[in-house]
C-alpha cells in the first residue's frame, strides 16, 4: 500500500484504523445477533449495524483519557474504544467474563479503563452526566473531552435541553453526538419532532453552530470529531453534531422493523459505511490483501471471543451483594 495515496489530512494508519474498527463493530454485533438467535443472549440488545462509521470516527479521533458516554445502543461505542470483544459478548451472554460480570447487561456496558464511562438506558440521562465529567476537566485543567452519544429521539426529552444549555453557558469541553437514524424506536422521528433536523435545527437555541454530517462516511465523521475535540480542548465550549445514518436491524432484538417503508433499508444498505469505506480505501490504493487480512484478524478475534464466552461460567451468586456501596457490600444497616 502506498502511504502517499491514502494519506491526505487523514493518515494511512488512521484510515486503516477506521476500517478495522468498523469491521470489528460489524462482526462483533453480527455475532451478537447470531448468538441471540441461538438463545445465548439473555435480555434485550440494541445493535448499531449500519451506524459503525460514527462510533469508529469519533473513537479513532479521541485521545487516551477522553471519555465516552453511551446509550443502551452502546456496543459499538464500547468496542470502538478498544474494549475486547469477549468482554462485550460475555456481558450480553450473562457470563462471568462479561465487562460487568453480568450485573449490568447489554444496556449498561462500561469500561472505565478504556474511557467508556457508562451506557445509560434512560433516555437523555447521560447528557447532563457528560456535562459533569467535562466540568471536572475544566475545573482541574485536564485536557480530556467528554463525548456523549445519543439518538434522534432523545432530542425531545427535557434532559437534552437542560444539558445543552448548561454545557453552553459553562463552555464545557463536551461534544454531543446525535446519531440520527430516522427512527425513535418504531416511530419515524419526523412524526414527533417540530423541526427537520432534531439536533442541528436546535443548535442555535444554545448559541451553537448547526452541524449535519454524513454519518456513514467515517472520514467525514473523523474530521468533524477532530474539529469538535479541538474546540473543546481550546476552551471554546461544546459542540452539537447531527450525524445522519440508518440502522440495518430493528430497534432491539424484539423488533422485526416492519414499520419501514419498502425500499428504505435497501437504499441505505447501498450506503453501507463499511462497503463504502472499503471501496474508498481500494480506490486510494490500499491493496485488497491488506483489507482481507484485517477482515480475517477480526473474524478470528470474534470467533475466539465467542468460544471463550461459550466456555465461560455464569456469574457466581455472591456478586449479587457486592458493590452497592463503596465498601464493596450492600449493608444498609448495622
Amino acid at each position: 500500500m502506498s502511504k502517499k495515496t491514502v494519506t491526505d489530512d487523514i493518515s494511512a494508519e488512521v484510515r486503516l484504523e477506521l476500517y478495522r474498527t468498523q469491521v470489528r463493530l460489524r462482526e462483533a454485533e453480527q455475532r451478537a445477533f447470531d448468538l441471540f438467535l441461538q438463545n445465548l443472549v439473555k435480555g434485550t440488545s440494541h445493535l448499531s449495524l449500519g451506524q459503525e462509521a460514527i462510533a469508529a470516527g469519533f473513537a479513532v479521533a479521541m485521545q487516551k483519557g477522553d471519555l465516552s458516554f453511551c446509550t443502551y445502543r452502546g456496543h459499538a461505542h464500547t468496542l470502538a474504544r478498544g474494549v475486547p470483544v469477549e468482554k462485550v459478548l460475555g456481558e450480553l451472554m450473562s457470563r462471568d467474563n462479561g465487562l460487568m460480570r453480568g450485573k449490568g447487561g447489554s444496556m449498561h456496558l462500561t469500561s472505565v479503563e478504556h474511557g467508556v464511562m457508562g451506557s445509560y438506558a434512560i433516555i437523555g440521562a447521560h447528557l447532563p452526566i457528560a456535562c459533569g465529567a467535562a466540568w471536572r476537566a475544566q475545573y482541574r485543567g485536564d485536557s480530556d473531552v467528554s463525548v456523549c452519544f445519543f439518538g434522534d429521539g432523545t432530542t425531545n426529552i427535557g434532559a437534552f435541553h437542560e444539558a445543552l444549555n448548561f454545557a453552553a453557558i459553562w463552555k464545557l469541553p463536551v461534544v454531543f453526538v446525535c446519531e440520527n437514524n430516522l427512527y425513535m424506536e418504531y416511530t419515524p422521528i419526523a412524526d414527533v419532532t417540530a423541526v427537520e433536523h432534531p439536533a442541528a435545527d436546535r443548535a442555535a437555541a444554545y448559541g451553537l453552530e448547526r452541524i449535519i454530517i454524513d454519518g456513514n462516511d467515517a472520514d467525514e465523521v473523523l474530521r468533524t470529531a477532530r474539529k469538535a475535540y479541538e474546540r473543546a480542548r481550546r476552551g471554546d465550549g461544546p459542540s452539537l453534531i447531527e450525524a445522519m445514518t440508518y440502522r440495518h436491524s430493528g430497534h432491539s432484538r424484539a423488533d422485526p422493523a416492519k414499520y419501514r417503508p419498502e425500499g428504505e433499508l435497501e437504499s441505505w444498505k447501498k450506503r453501507d459505511p463499511i462497503k463504502m469505506y472499503r471501496a474508498r480505501l481500494l480506490k486510494l490504493g490500499v491493496s485488497e490483501a491488506v483489507l482481507n487480512t484485517i477482515d480475517q484478524e477480526i473474524k478470528d478475534e470474534v470467533e475466539a471471543a465467542t468460544v471463550a464466552c461459550k466456555a465461560a461460567p455464569a456469574p457466581s451468586a455472591d456478586i449479587i451483594f457486592t458493590d452497592v456501596y463503596a465498601d464493596g457490600g450492600w449493608a444498609w444497616r448495622n
Partner: protein
C-alpha cells in the same frame, strides 16, 4: 368465555372503555401504530383511529402533563409510561401535580386519568428497566394504585380505573404479559380497593401482589402438600384504596403474616401493611411479621442473578417454614 393473555387483556380492557366513552383517549410512545413495545395496545389504533390513539415523542413530562391538562378539562386520558422505571423522569406529575391539584384547589380541579406502567423484573433488562415502583406510588397522597395479577383482573380493574374520577396508577407486570387466564365475554367492571382471597387457609396469611401472586400460590400449595401448612393467600390488587378489612380479618383468623414483595426491601408496600397490622391487629399476632422481598439492591441483569434476588416459591416456602417452626 375466552382464554386471554394478560397482554391482550390490557388491550381488551382499554377497548371496552374506549368503545363506551368517547372521552377516553390513549397516548404514549409507540403505543399506536406499533401497538406498544409490549404489544399490550395492539389493535387499538386500528379500532379507534389516530385521533384517539396517539404516538408521542420521548417526552414523558409532556405525556403526563398533557394527560393531566386534558383530564382537568374533560377527557379521560390513559397514558403509557413504557417501563415503570421511567416514572422517574416525569415523577413531578406523579408526586406534585395530579395527586395534589384537587386538594390544593379545594376541589375545583379534577384529574381523572390512568397512567399505565410496565412494571417489574424477570426479563433480564437490568437495573434501569426492571423495577417495581408500586411503593413509589403508594407513598404519594392523592394517587390510587392498582396492581393486577391476572387477565380478568386486568380487564375489570382497567375499567374501574378509567371510570374512576381520580388519578389511578395502573401497574402492569412485564413478566405477566404472556400469562393466560379465562376471561368471560361481555363487559367486565371490577372495584378498586378490593383484595381477593385466592386461597383460604388457617395457618398463616400471605399477602402478595402482581407477579408474586402466582408464586405465593405455588408456595402455598407446596407448603400444604409437603408440610401440612395451610396458608391463606391474598392478592392485595389495590394498594390505594387499600382493603384493610379483608387483610385484618385474615390476620384475625391465621395470626401469622407474610408479605411477598418484588420491590426492594426498604419502605415497600409490605412495610406499610405490616405496620398497619402491628398496630391494629397486634393482639391477634402469634409471631413475628415477616416480609419476603427483593433485597435492598439494584437489580442485576444476568438471568442467574436476577432469578436469585426476586422472591420465588422456594424462598417463600423456606421462609414460612423457618418462621413458623421457630
Amino acid at each position: 368465555m375466552a382464554e386471554l393473555t394478560y397482554r391482550d387483556a390490557v388491550a381488551r380492557g382499554i377497548a371496552q372503555e374506549m368503545a363506551r366513552d368517547p372521552d377516553v383517549v390513549l397516548i404514549g410512545e409507540d403505543i399506536a401504530k406499533a401497538g406498544g413495545v409490549f404489544k399490550a395496545t395492539v389493535g387499538l389504533y386500528e379500532q379507534f383511529g389516530p385521533r384517539r390513539v396517539r404516538d408521542t415523542p420521548i417526552s414523558e413530562q409532556a405525556i403526563l402533563g398533557a394527560a393531566m391538562g386534558a383530564a382537568m378539562t374533560g377527557l379521560k386520558p390513559i397514558a403509557e409510561i413504557m417501563f415503570a422505571d421511567f416514572a422517574a423522569v416525569c415523577w413531578d406529575y406523579f408526586a406534585n401535580e395530579f395527586p395534589k391539584s384537587r386538594y390544593m384547589t379545594n376541589g375545583q380541579v379534577k384529574t381523572p386519568l390512568v397512567v399505565r406502567l410496565g412494571n417489574g423484573g424477570g426479563a433480564r433488562f437490568g437495573a434501569q428497566h426492571s423495577q417495581s415502583v408500586e411503593n413509589w406510588c403508594m407513598m404519594i397522597p392523592g394517587l390510587k394504585v392498582v396492581v393486577p395479577s391476572s387477565p380478568i383482573d386486568v380487564v375489570g380493574l382497567m375499567a374501574a380505573a378509567v371510570r374512576d374520577p381520580d388519578p389511578v396508577i395502573f401497574l402492569e407486570h412485564k413478566s405477566l404479559y404472556a400469562t393466560k387466564g379465562e376471561v368471560p365475554d361481555g363487559e367486565i367492571v371490577d372495584t378498586l380497593g378490593t383484595a381477593k382471597i385466592l386461597r383460604p387457609g388457617k395457618d398463616a396469611t400471605i399477602l402478595a401482589l402482581s407477579l408474586m401472586v402466582p408464586r405465593a400460590l405455588e408456595a402455598a400449595d407446596r407448603l400444604q402438600a409437603e408440610h401440612g401448612i395451610d396458608c391463606e393467600v391474598i392478592d392485595v390488587r389495590s394498594l390505594v384504596p387499600l382493603d384493610t378489612q379483608t387483610i385484618l380479618a385474615s390476620v384475625a383468623r391465621t395470626h401469622r403474616v407474610f408479605t411477598v414483595e418484588e420491590n426492594p426491601r426498604l419502605c415497600g408496600w409490605g412495610a406499610e401493611l405490616m405496620s398497619i397490622i402491628a398496630d391494629e391487629a397486634f393482639y391477634e399476632l402469634d409471631g413475628p411479621l415477616v416480609r419476603i422481598t427483593t433485597p435492598h439492591i439494584p437489580l442485576p441483569a444476568a438471568d442467574v442473578l436476577e432469578d436469585l434476588v426476586i422472591p420465588n416459591a422456594a424462598r417463600i416456602v423456606e421462609t414460612v417454614l423457618r418462621t413458623l417452626s421457630n
